[in-house]
């Protein structure tokens, strides 16, 4: 019986929560398995029957109605097909329980207003859950329901750690102070004026925070973090080894060498021959490559040396560096010889002589005695006053410093005497430690006028310490004087022997009295017993020295005799040559002009030196005893100073010179060796100069043309092998550079208006080369040599030597040609002579000549005929 209940159209939305919750649960349960429920429509009749009328019995609030199963079956039986329950008849019959649930579905969830729950579980479910909910709500509180929820934070319980944190926190103990600093507006941007103020001066200018020991900071370290590492045990131990004694060990070895036999064997072997043959080719290639061109030669670097003319022409001129004239002593005097001091830089010495001719000298000889001749020492520091003056007995024409002891100076006088000076007492003055002349003013702080020490401001005059005997010396003015180098000395016979003393002890002089003399500055060997000598010494008590002269050469004074006299007999005639200048061969390595003389700390006491007996010392073989001499007549002589023994009388005499050359037109005033080449000599005389090579006896290798003015002096340059200077009569200096021009000087520079009397170059430093030039007026000019003239170009020495060799070859060739020509000439003459000697042919008469001519003509005609006939031209 299906009771149709109209669906309640009243949409009662307002469900209470419980029902809503229940219905929502129901809905959930029902929508899932709709098979448990059967939506149906119940007619009103059914509804009345079962007392489930809509909105009366069952409402929204209580939608459940339990119907008895039997009633439903009854209904079905009664109304069979019309029953609402007919579609589910079977299910109803199968339904296990008695009561079935009918639910009023107000909302039409399943499409009908009612539905019947078909299964028991669904019924239970529908009926129970709402009840269950009510029941469960009470039970939940008591049960320990394990639902995972986030833990609720508990309030913090202090266990004492917050105290430490509170201690450590940093809180302001007082509110922070704030300062506001402001300025007047008009002062903004105003210019600021700063001034210094010393903080110390004003009171409270500064607040000092001095440091002090604060006890609070001496903390005791309670805790310290450090790392540790475990290591194995460490033991320090030492031992001592036994070292009995030190012993030097050395090994001597020699290289393995083959014996002679082995060498021979090797050389003979075939193997070696092949090897050498094969290898020689490679070598020749390589060697020739080297010969052709030097691949490693740096052209770029070498270029710079040749590019000498950096400055303009002005740079090649010699600039005047300084000039010295003495007001008192240079008047009417001329300088005859100059020399640079060998050790003290900047000191130059000039010998002043009277500028008078011979006649004038004789006339004014009395006056000359009153004015002694002097040698002046000039220093660059003082151009007005000379530093030192040496007194000479007479005019000195030549003087030299001793090479081994620069304090000894020897000079040759006009009267033929040889003079010795010793300036060791005044060396300090020369060096400038005391300051000479007017300079001493600056040294003294307090100078009283008129009370100055006169000696200091005046130049000291040094008297000569020894002078040779007037009889024993030369009879003519000594024109050249030189020291023998210290390597050897010369005995009485002229044989060079070993010089044990090691210092220069011998002097060579020459004068126009036709002899060259050798002098020795030591005490002559008298041959007496040693007792005598000792006695002599004790007798010589230190005498009063009125002139303040050192006693070193007392033994020589006034008794000095030459060791040896070398005369120069003429070669082809009787008589002798009169030497003016000579030049010895350099027999030691350094005799150059610019060499620094060895300054000896132990100056030998010359008075103790004795001329040794000639027998004891061995003669030196390799010393060349030949030398060149230039004479008054313009000749150059090559001679030997060794004395020869005349077999007949046993006397010693000088041999004749080996060679003589007449070259110059006047006096030979210079004979100088080149400082770079041992065998090249420059001679100057008259209007020409010549360069000679020792060994080439034919002629000079270079002979200059006659110049316009006389050549008065010449000297080699100290730094460039091919350069030399010639001084002229008109006061100009010619600079000759053999590599540049050989027919004329490369440069002529006029120094002064007077004749040049002496030229000497000197090297002060690598940047400064000076040339000292003295003129006839008595002025000493110092010129600075420019860079072009003082720096040698690369290979200059080689080039010059090659040039000289070429010249020598030329001379040899010329000689040969001369011989050839001479021979030819002879032959030509001989022929000429022979021809003349032949008998004179008969003079033919005129007729005979005509006959002969006629005969010839006829012979010619005949010949012509024959030829023509042969040629077929003539008619026969």
């Amino acid at each position: 019986m299906a009771s149709q209940r109209p669906r309640s159209t009243a949409s009662s939305k307002g469900k209470d929560k419980k029902n809503g919750a229940a219905s929502s649960i129901e809905n959930l349960a029902e929508t899932a398995p709709p098979s448990d429920i059967f939506p149906m429509v119940l007619t009103s009749a059914t509804q009345e029957l079962f007392e489930c009328r809509a909105d009366e019995d069952v409402t929204g609030d209580s939608p459940y109605k339990l119907l008895r199963k039997e009633d439903i079956v009854q209904d079905m039986k009664t109304r069979a097909a019309v029953s609402d329950f007919s579609p589910i008849k079977q299910v109803v019959l199968d339904y296990p329980e008695d009561e079935m649930l009918l639910v009023f579905d107000r909302d039409f969830t399943y499409g009908q207003s009612f539905y019947l729950v078909l299964t028991v579980e669904a019924k239970e479910r529908l009926l129970r859950p709402p009840e269950l909910e009510n029941e469960e709500a009470e039970e939940d509180d008591s049960e320990d329901y394990a639902i995972p929820t986030t833990p609720v934070p508990q309030p913090w319980v202090s266990l004492g750690s917050d105290r430490e944190i509170e201690d450590e926190t940093f809180t302001d103990s007082r509110p922070r102070l704030k300062y506001k600093i402001s300025r007047i507006r008009r002062e903004f941007g105003a210019p600021v004026i700063f001034s210094d103020r010393n903080a110390v001066e004003t009171k409270d200018g500064f607040m000092e925070c001095a440091s002090y020991q604060d006890k609070t900071f001496s903390l005791k370290e309670m805790e310290r973090g450090c790392g540790t590492q475990a290591i194995p045990d460490v033991i320090s131990a030492s031992t001592q080894t036994q070292w009995t004694y030190p012993k030097n060990m050395c090994t001597q070895y020699e290289p393995r060498e083959f014996s002679e036999e082995d060498k021979e064997n090797c050389l003979q072997s075939e193997n070696l021959k092949n090897f050498v043959k094969s290898v020689a080719v490679r070598f020749e290639l390589a060697i020739q490559q080297n010969e052709i061109m030097d691949v490693f030669f740096d052209d770029w670097a070498a270029l710079s040396e040749e590019d000498a003319a950096f400055g303009g022409k002005a740079d090649t001129y010699m600039k005047e560096y300084q000039s010295f004239t003495d007001l008192h002593h240079s008047k009417e005097r001329t300088i005859s010889h100059i020399n640079w001091h060998p050790t003290i830089p900047g000191v130059i010495v000039a010998a002043m002589t009277e500028r008078l001719s011979f006649e004038e000298r004789i006339c004014g000889s009395s006056k000359l005695v009153l004015n002694p001749s002097l040698i002046l020492f000039w220093s660059f520091s003082d151009p007005i006053n000379p530093q030192l003056m040496l007194e000479c007995p007479d005019d000195v024409f030549s003087f030299e410093f001793c090479p081994s002891d620069p304090n000894i100076i020897v000079g040759g006088c006009m009267n033929g005497q040889v003079v010795l000076w010793d300036i060791s007492a005044h060396v300090d003055r020369l060096r400038g430690t005391r300051g000479g002349g007017g300079k001493s003013m600056s040294n003294n702080t307090v100078v009283l006028q008129g009370f100055e020490d006169k000696l200091e401001s005046e130049t000291p005059v040094v008297r000569y310490c020894a002078v040779s005997g007037i009889d024993a010396g030369h009879k003519a003015p000594i024109t050249d004087i030189q020291w023998l180098p210290e390597g050897f000395e010369v005995s009485r016979t002229g044989i060079p022997i070993e010089n044990k003393a090691g210092t220069c002890v011998q002097i060579v002089t020459c004068a126009p009295d036709c002899c060259v003399m050798f002098w020795d500055i030591r005490v002559p060997w008298t041959g007496g017993q040693p007792l005598e000598e000792k006695k002599q010494k004790t007798d010589e008590r230190p005498l009063d020295n009125p002139h303040g002269v050192p006693n070193m050469f007392k033994h020589l004074d006034l008794s000095w005799k030459p060791l040896m006299k070398v005369s120069l007999p003429k070669i082809d005639s009787s008589g002798e040559y009169s030497p003016l200048k000579f030049c010895l061969r350099h027999n030691t390595s350094d005799s150059q002009v610019a060499t620094v003389y060895a300054e000896r700390s132990d100056i030998p006491d010359y008075s103790l030196l004795r001329v040794p007996s000639a027998k004891n010392l061995k003669p030196l073989e390799d010393i060349c005893t030949k030398f060149y001499v230039g004479t008054e007549d313009g000749e150059l002589i090559y001679t030997d100073w060794k004395m020869e023994k005349d077999n007949d009388s046993g006397r010693l005499f000088s041999p004749k010179p080996s060679h003589r050359y007449i070259i110059h037109d006047g006096l030979v005033n210079t004979v100088r060796r080149s400082p770079f080449f041992e065998d090249i000599i420059l001679t100057v005389g008259g209007w020409t100069f010549a360069i000679w090579k020792e060994g080439v006896m034919v002629s000079p290798i270079i002979l200059s043309h006659c110049s316009q003015t006389r050549c008065t002096k010449g000297c080699w340059s100290g730094s460039r092998p091919g350069v030399f200077f010639i001084g002229k009569e008109d006061g100009s200096i010619e600079v000759w550079d053999l590599l540049e021009k050989t027919h004329e000087p490369s440069q002529v520079q006029n120094i002064t208006t007077f004749q040049i009397t002496s030229i000497k170059p000197w090297i002060i430093s690598s940047k400064q080369h000076l040339l000292a030039v003295s003129d006839h007026f008595g002025t000493l000019h110092i010129l600075e040599i420019p860079w072009t003239l003082r720096s040698p170009s690369s290979n200059e020495k080689q080039s010059i030597s090659k040039y000289f060799d070429k010249e020598v070859d030329r001379l040899i060739y010329v000689e040969k040609r001369r011989e050839v020509r001479a021979k030819e000439k002879e032959e030509a003459e001989a022929e000429d002579l022979k021809r003349r000697m032949q008998p004179v042919a008969q003079e033919k008469s005129l007729e005979q000549m005509e006959e002969e001519a006629q005969k010839e003509y006829e012979a010619y005609l005949a010949m012509e005929k024959v030829i023509m006939k042969d040629m077929g031209l003539a008619e026969d």
Binding site: P255, R256, E257, F258, K263, C266, L267, Q268, N271, L272, K273, F275, V276, K277, S278, V279, A280, R282, F283, E284, A286, I287, Q288, N290, E291, D294, F296, F297
Partner: protein
């Protein structure tokens, strides 16, 4: 023997040649134109250098071998030609 002499003389006469040394493979000089001390020194030192040079060349390329070694110094040039059993040293001054 004469041939060897002749060849050596030819080399010696070239310009600038200062000395010639023939040494065996161990560096013992056999023939020389210099004095004994210099010869021994040259032979010993150059032998070591030669070994080094040769081993260098052969290490780089084992098919290769050293044929000539030239040492150019400031003053002169030393030329060395090695062989299996001997080597020849020539000292020349090229700038003369």
């Amino acid at each position: 023997m004469a041939e060897v002499e002749e060849t050596l003389k030819r080399i010696q006469c070239q310009k600038g040649v200062q000395g010639i040394i023939i040494a065996n493979a161990e560096g013992i000089p056999i023939k020389t134109t210099l004095d004994n001390a210099s010869t021994v020194q040259y032979a010993g030192l150059i032998h070591q250098l030669l070994m080094k040079a040769r081993s260098t060349v052969r290490d780089i390329d084992p098919q290769n071998d050293l044929t000539f070694l030239r040492i150019r110094s400031k003053k002169n040039e030393i030329m060395i030609a090695p062989d299996k059993d001997y080597f020849l040293i020539v000292i020349q001054n090229p700038s003369e």
